[in-house]
Symmetry: C2
Subunit: 133 residues, 2 copies
Amino acid sequence: MATRTAAQQRNEAREAYDAFMKECPTNQLLARISDKWVSLIVSALGEQSPMRYSDLGRKIPGVSQKMLTQTLRSLERDGLVARTVTASVPVRVDYELTALGRNLCCLLTAVKEWAEKHFDEVDEARTRYDETA
Amino acid sequence: MATRTAAQQRNEAREAYDAFMKECPTNQLLARISDKWVSLIVSALGEQSPMRYSDLGRKIPGVSQKMLTQTLRSLERDGLVARTVTASVPVRVDYELTALGRNLCCLLTAVKEWAEKHFDEVDEARTRYDETA
DNA sequence: CCGTATCCCGCACGATACTG
DNA sequence: CAGTATCGTGCGGGATACGG
């Protein structure tokens, strides 16, 4: 049992690799931002702010309550959006971008505008690709 | 068999609805771009181009063969990257951004740089949030 | 070297129902 | 109105093996 199998060695290598990778914070943050709900919510709040919970739900097509709440919570945790509760009947909750959030929003709306601008080219490329297949 | 069942009609209506109303095509494209593998691959190709398949695999941490191939294919289909096969032994395949891809790349690397720059603030916000909990 | 094909697991996500 | 709680499932995506 002194001998180490190839599988074991591969596993150890993989674990070491994983451990190293977990420490690369930049990619993690990038992956968090590169999420479709994140970009949709942030850009929605960029256009109009503050917005109520239900406003966001109506503005963003196809989002479920769960994902809306979940994403908003994570954005709040990351300090990108601020949540304000107005205790009344019925309760009113507003969301708006923080300074940091507005900062990021510029970049994301730039991406969104890129999508609007170049959609035709992409669509064209797709049909061309599919025809050749 | 000439009659169309109510279920069929409902289905067709639903599909038409989904196709058109679900959300403007812009948001779909935005969702496609807001994918972590997409952003990682595009930004990798932005730094250095052209790159071989295995180079990309080595450069991007934690990507599987499957996701690498899959994402590259979709990017090729969307006209964002170009794939060049050099028939030799062994085969050599190079990937590089198209003009459209380079265009998008500027924006994505801006996002990546944002992530690098503001990571500390985000991390700080997180610990603050977790403490208050 | 550059993939494609296959299996399979976990969890992201949606649907639904319930509270303050 | 603004959420939580719970359950079911589809599919993203990893591991493995094989083909050109």
